[in-house]
C-alpha cells in the first residue's frame, strides 16, 4: 500500500468525474439523469476509497501518512506534496461523506442546469480534499482559494432571491481575508526558504514577524470560521444558497478556518498565538453569546441555523486556543460533529423547503401530525446541536469546556452560557415548527420523508450516535497528533524563553 497514491486519487477522482459529466451530450432529460448518477457514483466511490484511509491509518505516529511528493516548480523548491495526520484525516472523511449526501439531497430540488451543478460539486470536492491534505503552502493556498469559484457559482446560479448579493458578499469577504494570508505565505517563504509545511512547523520565525504572520492568517481564517464580527457573510450565504450548498458550506467550508488555526497558527506561530489568545477568547465569547441571542430572534429557519453555526464555531476557536489536549481535541471533535449536525439540520430545512418553498418559521407548525418520521429526525439533530449527552455534540462541547476550565474559569463560565442559549433557540425553533396545531392550509397535504430522504439522513443519524456513544474511535485517531502539536509548541515556547533570557 505504501506506493499507492491514495490521497491523489481521492483528490482527483472527482475531477475526472466532472470531466465525464462535461462530456455528456444529448437531450436535457437524459443529460440530467446521467449527470446526477455519474456525480453520485463518483462521490460514492471516493467515499469508499477514503475509508481505506481510515482503515490503514496508523494511530501511533504523529507523522504525516500517505505522503506523496512530486516536484512542481523546482526553481522555487515548491512541490505538490500531500499527506494526512490525525488532525486532517477525519476532515477528509467528513468531506467525502458529505459530498454524496449533498448530491443525493439535490436530486429533486435542482432541476435547472443539473450538469453544471454536479460539475461544480465535484470540483468543490476536489478542492476541499486537496485543502485538507496539502502539505505545501502554495498547494494549500490554491485549494483553499479555488473553492471560492464553485461556491460563488453555486450560490449565485442556484440560490434564492438575493443570491447575487449573497454570492458577492461571500466571495469578497473571503477573498479579502485570504489575500492577506497570501502575503504572509510569501513572507514565510522568504524567511524560511521553503513552502514545505512539515519543515515550516519546525522552523522558528522571529517573534516580531510571527505577530504579523499570525494576524494575516487570522484575517483569512477568522472570515472562514467565521468569527464575530466578520461573520455577517455567513447568514446571507446560507439563506440564499441551495440546500446542498448550505450543507457543504456549514459542513466543510467553515472547518477551513478552524483547521487552519490548528495547522498553521498554533504550530508555526506559537508565540504570537499565546499573545493573541485573549483576543480570540474575547471574540469567541461574543460570538457564542451574541449570535445565540441573534439566533433566538430569527424568523428564517436557515438564518437561525446559520447563526447557531457561528456560535458553535465560537466554541471551536475557544477550544483551539486553550492549547490543552482536551480543548484542542474537543475543538476538532466539535468541528466534526458540527459538520455532521449542521449539515443535517440544513438538510432538515431543505426537506420542508422542497415541499412548501418557504423558510419562514411562521409558515410551519404542527408538522408532527403529518410528518412523524420527519419530526423524529429533526429532533435527533436538534438535540445533537444542543449537545445532549449521547450525541456527538455533547462530547465536543464537554471536552472544550474541560479544556477552558483548566485555563480560565471566567472564559469557561461565559462559554458555557452558550450551551444553555443553544438549547433555548433550538428547542424554541423545534416547538414552533413541529408541535402545535396543524392549522396552516398549505401544510394539510404535506407528505412525510421519502425513501431517498431517509437514505440521506440514515448515515448522519448513525454517525451522530456513534460520535456520542463511542467517541474513542475518533479521538484515538487525533490523540497522538494533538499531543505532538502541543509538544512542538512547548518546545518553541521554551526555545523563545531561552532566547529572551539570553538577550537581556
Amino acid at each position: 500500500m505504501t506506493n499507492f497514491p491514495l490521497l491523489s486519487l481521492l483528490i482527483f477522482i472527482p475531477l475526472v468525474g466532472a470531466g465525464f459529466i462535461l462530456a455528456i451530450r444529448g437531450e436535457e432529460e437524459v443529460v440530467n439523469r446521467n449527470a446526477r448518477s455519474v456525480a453520485l457514483w463518483t462521490s460514492f466511490a471516493v467515499f469508499i476509497l477514503s475509508l481505506l484511509l481510515w482503515v490503514n491509518f496508523d494511530t501511533t505516529t504523529a507523522d504525516f501518512q500517505f505522503q506523496e511528493q512530486v516536484k512542481w516548480m523546482p526553481a522555487f523548491d515548491i512541490s505538490y506534496r500531500v499527506g494526512v495526520d490525525g488532525i486532517s484525516m477525519l476532515f477528509v472523511l467528513l468531506t467525502t461523506l458529505l459530498t454524496p449526501i449533498c448530491i443525493l439531497a439535490s436530486w429533486k430540488s435542482v432541476t435547472e442546469r443539473v450538469k453544471e451543478y454536479m460539475i461544480a460539486f465535484l470540483i468543490m470536492e476536489t478542492m476541499m480534499i486537496g485543502m485538507f491534505a496539502a502539505l505545501d503552502l502554495v498547494v494549500f493556498y490554491i485549494f483553499f482559494e479555488a473553492v471560492l469559484i464553485p461556491m460563488f457559482l453555486i450560490i449565485g446560479v442556484w440560490g434564492g432571491k438575493r443570491r447575487v448579493y449573497a454570492a458577492f458578499k461571500f466571495f469578497l469577504y473571503t477573498l479579502l481575508g485570504s489575500v492577506l494570508m497570501l502575503l504572509a505565505l510569501l513572507a514565510m517563504y522568504h524567511d524560511a526558504g521553503t513552502t514545505d509545511i512539515p519543515t515550516l512547523m519546525n522552523h522558528t520565525f522571529p517573534a516580531g514577524l510571527q505577530t504579523w504572520l499570525w494576524l494575516a492568517f487570522f484575517a483569512s481564517f477568522a472570515v472562514k470560521v467565521p468569527m464575530w464580527p466578520v461573520h455577517t457573510w455567513l447568514p446571507d450565504a446560507h439563506v440564499e444558497a441551495p440546500t446542498a450548498g448550505s450543507v457543504i458550506l456549514a459542513g466543510v467550508l467553515l472547518k477551513f478556518g478552524g483547521y487552519g488555526f490548528l495547522r498553521f497558527s498554533l504550530p508555526m506561530f506559537p508565540l504570537a498565538s499565546m499573545d493573541f489568545t485573549p483576543l480570540i477568547f474575547a471574540l469567541s465569547i461574543i460570538a457564542v453569546i451574541y449570535t445565540s441571542l441573534v439566533a433566538l430572534a430569527q424568523t428564517d429557519m436557515k438564518k437561525l441555523i446559520a447563526y447557531s453555526s457561528v456560535a458553535h464555531m465560537g466554541f471551536v476557536t475557544v477550544g483551539t486556543f486553550t492549547m490543552t489536549v482536551q480543548g484542542i481535541e474537543g475543538a476538532i471533535y466539535q468541528m466534526l460533529s458540527h459538520g455532521v449536525v449542521s449539515a443535517a439540520l440544513f438538510l432538515v430545512v431543505g426537506v420542508v423547503y422542497d415541499r412548501i418553498h418557504s423558510r419562514e418559521i411562521d409558515a410551519y407548525g404542527g408538522l408532527i401530525h403529518r410528518m412523524p418520521a420527519y419530526g423524529l429526525i429533526f429532533m435527533i439533530f436538534m438535540l445533537a446541536s444542543v449537545g445532549l449527552p449521547g450525541t456527538g455534540g455533547f462530547i465536543g462541547e464537554f471536552l472544550i469546556l474541560v479544556g477552558v476550565f483548566k485555563v480560565n474559569t471566567w472564559v469557561a463560565a461565559f462559554t458555557a452560557t452558550g450551551v444553555i442559549l443553544g438549547a433555548v433557540y433550538m428547542l424554541y425553533l423545534y416547538r414552533r415548527v413541529i408541535f402545535g396545531e396543524l392549522t396552516k392550509e398549505s401544510l394539510m397535504k404535506i407528505g412525510d420523508l421519502s425513501r431517498r430522504e431517509m437514505l440521506v439522513f440514515a448515515p448522519l443519524v448513525l454517525l451522530v450516535f456513534w460520535m456520542g456513544i463511542y467517541p474513542s474511535s475518533f479521538l484515538d485517531v487525533m490523540h497522538v497528533s494533538v499531543n505532538n502539536l502541543l509538544d512542538q509548541m512547548e518546545t518553541a515556547r521554551a526555545a523563545a524563553g531561552v532566547m529572551t533570557a539570553g538577550n537581556p
Binding site: A75, L182, H190
Partner: protein, 489 residues
C-alpha cells in the same frame, strides 16, 4: 578594427519582417481591388501572408535565441530577455491578426493595409525590446506608435474610431516629446546614449547631476504614457473604447508588453544603479495605477472601457516588479506579461463574439444570459475573469504570486498590501461580469455561431489560463533565464 559591414545575424528576424512588410505592401498595391470583392480578396491574401510571415519571424527569433548578441555598434541587442519578449510580441500580433479577420470583413473595412500596419507595428515593437541605445529605443518606439495611430483610426468612417486615433496621436506625440526631451537631457549630462556605457558610468560614480535625474524623470513619464500607467493613463479608456475591437485587443497586449519590456530594460540596464532615485516614483505610479484601475472600472458599463481600466490596473501590478528592481521583480514582470497576453487576448476574443445582427454590442449588460446561449464562450469568459482577479488555480494567480513575492522579498510591504487589497476591489468588477453571464436572465441572445478564428483563440487562451498550473516550469524557467541575462549583462 571594426569590420565595415555590421553583423546582421542578431537582427535577422527584424530585417526579414521589414522586407516582408514592404513586399506585401507592393503585392497589395498591385492587386485588382476595383472589381466586386477584389478588396476583400486582397485583404485575405495579404493577411494570410502576413500571418505566415509572423510565424516565420517567430522561427527566426527562436534561431537567434540563447546567447547575447550585439550589433550595429551596440545599438541593437539580442539577448534572452529580448527574445522572451519578442516571442510574446509576435504571438500577440499573430493573435490580433487572426482575431481581426471576421471583424473587419463584417464591418466592411477589410483593407489589406491593416495587416501591413500590424507587421510594421510588430517590427517597431521588436526593435524596442532589442534597443541597446536610447536612440534606437526612440526609433523603435516611434515606428510602433505611428503604425498604431493609423490602426486606431482604421474604421475611418466611424467618428469614434477617428476620435480615438486623433486622441492617441496627440497625446502620444506629447509623450514621445517628453521621452525625447528626457533622452536629450541624459545625453547632455552623461555624454552618451549607450546603455552599457551609461550603466558602467553609474556603477563607478555615485554622484549624479540633478539634470540627469530630471532627464530620467521625463523618460519615466514618457514610458508611463506608453504603458498607460497613472497619471498618464487618460487616453486609454477613450482609445480602447473607440478603436475597432480587435485593434483594442492588440493595443491592450502587444504595445503594452513591448513598452513594459522597454521600461524594464531602460530602468535596469543603464539606470539600475540609480534605483534609489527612481524607485519611489515607480512605487507611486504602481500604487496609483492599481487603485485607479480597481476603483474606476467599477462604474463602467462599456466592457471595452472596463477592460481599459483593468489593463491600467494590471500595469500597476507589473510595476510592482519594477519597483522591486531586482531579479525576482523582473522575473515577475516577465511571467506577468506572458500570462497577461493570453488572459487579455482571450477576454477580447470573447468580447468579439458580442454581436447582434450586423452591430457589435459593447455593454456589459448585453452579456446577460450568455451562459444559456453560448455556454462554452461563457465558461471561457468566466475563466478569464476569475484569472484576472487572481483566483487560483488559474494563471492570473501565478502572475500575482511572483510579483508579490518580489515585493515581499524587497521589503516593499506597503506596496504589497495595497496591491492585494486593490486586487480584492478589482475582483468585484471581474466577478460582476461572471454574474451578468451566469446569474442574469437571457434578454436578447447574441448571435451564434461565433467565427472559427475567434473560437480558436478563445480555446487556446482558455486552455493556457486553465492549465498553466500543470506546467508552470516552461514559462518560469524562460523568464528566469531572460532575467538572468538582463542582470548579467
Amino acid at each position: 578594427m571594426m569590420s565595415s559591414v555590421p553583423n546582421v545575424v542578431p537582427a535577422l528576424p527584424e530585417i526579414f519582417l521589414a522586407l516582408a512588410a514592404m513586399a506585401l505592401l507592393m503585392l497589395g498595391v498591385f492587386q485588382k481591388t476595383d472589381e466586386g470583392d477584389g478588396e476583400v480578396r486582397a485583404f485575405r491574401l495579404i493577411s494570410r501572408l502576413g500571418m505566415i510571415s509572423l510565424v516565420l519571424v517567430m522561427m527566426l527569433v527562436a534561431t537567434v535565441s540563447g546567447a547575447t548578441l550585439t550589433t550595429f555598434g551596440g545599438m541593437f541587442v539580442s539577448d534572452p530577455f529580448a527574445v522572451f519578449f519578442k516571442v510574446l510580441i509576435v504571438l500577440a500580433s499573430l493573435m490580433a491578426l487572426i482575431l481581426s479577420q471576421d471583424y473587419l470583413e463584417n464591418q466592411k473595412i477589410a483593407r489589406f493595409e491593416y495587416a501591413i500596419l500590424i507587421l510594421l507595428a510588430t517590427l517597431g515593437m521588436m526593435m524596442m525590446v532589442s534597443a541597446g541605445n536610447l536612440l534606437s529605443l526612440y526609433m523603435g518606439l516611434e515606428m510602433q506608435s505611428l503604425s498604431l495611430y493609423v490602426i486606431a483610426t482604421f474604421n475611418r468612417d466611424d467618428s469614434r474610431s477617428t476620435e480615438a486615433g486623433l486622441k492617441y496621436f496627440v497625446l502620444g506625440a506629447v509623450a514621445s516629446g517628453m521621452l525625447l526631451y528626457g533622452i536629450s537631457l541624459v545625453y547632455g549630462y552623461a555624454g552618451t546614449v549607450d546603455f552599457m556605457a551609461l550603466g558602467s558610468m553609474f556603477k563607478a560614480d555615485t554622484h549624479v547631476p540633478l539634470g540627469l535625474i530630471i532627464g530620467i524623470v521625463f523618460m519615466l513619464a514618457g514610458l508611463s504614457f506608453k504603458v498607460s500607467a497613472v497619471p498618464f493613463h487618460m487616453w486609454t479608456p477613450d482609445v480602447y473604447e473607440g478603436a475597432p475591437t480587435p485593434v483594442t485587443a492588440f493595443f491592450s497586449v502587444g504595445p503594452k508588453i513591448a513598452a513594459m519590456a522597454l521600461f524594464v530594460r531602460v530602468m535596469i540596464e543603464p539606470f539600475g544603479d540609480l534605483f534609489q532615485h527612481w524607485q519611489q516614483i515607480v512605487v507611486l505610479i504602481s500604487i496609483a495605477s492599481m487603485l485607479l484601475g480597481a476603483f474606476a472600472a467599477i462604474s463602467q458599463t462599456n466592457i471595452k472601457r472596463m477592460m481599459a481600466y483593468s489593463s491600467i490596473g494590471h500595469v500597476g501590478y507589473a510595476m510592482i516588479g519594477l519597483a522591486a528592481a531586482d531579479e525576482a521583480g523582473v522575473r515577475g514582470i516577465l511571467i506577468y506579461m506572458a500570462i497577461y497576453l493570453f488572459m487579455n487576448m482571450g477576454a477580447f476574443a470573447c468580447i468579439l463574439t458580442m454581436r447582434r445582427g450586423d452591430k457589435m454590442v459593447e455593454n456589459i449588460s448585453d452579456l446577460a444570459g450568455m451562459s444559456k446561449s453560448h455556454p462554452l464562450v461563457a465558461v471561457a469568459l468566466a475563466i478569464f475573469m476569475f484569472s484576472m482577479s487572481g483566483i487560483p488555480p488559474l494563471a492570473g494567480f501565478f502572475s500575482k504570486l511572483y510579483i508579490f513575492y518580489a515585493a515581499i522579498e524587497s521589503g516593499l510591504y506597503a506596496l504589497a498590501i495595497i496591491g492585494v487589497l486593490s486586487s480584492v476591489v478589482g475582483a468585484f468588477y471581474y466577478i460582476r461580469i461572471v454574474k451578468v453571464v451566469y446569474f442574469d436572465d437571457l434578454t436578447e441572445p447574441l448571435d451564434s455561431p461565433i467565427g472559427r478564428e475567434v473560437g480558436g483563440i478563445i480555446l487556446v487562451s482558455a486552455l493556457f489560463v486553465l492549465l498553466f498550473f500543470v506546467f508552470p516550469g516552461t514559462i518560469v524557467d524562460g523568464a528566469s533565464a531572460a532575467t538572468a541575462a538582463l542582470f548579467g549583462g
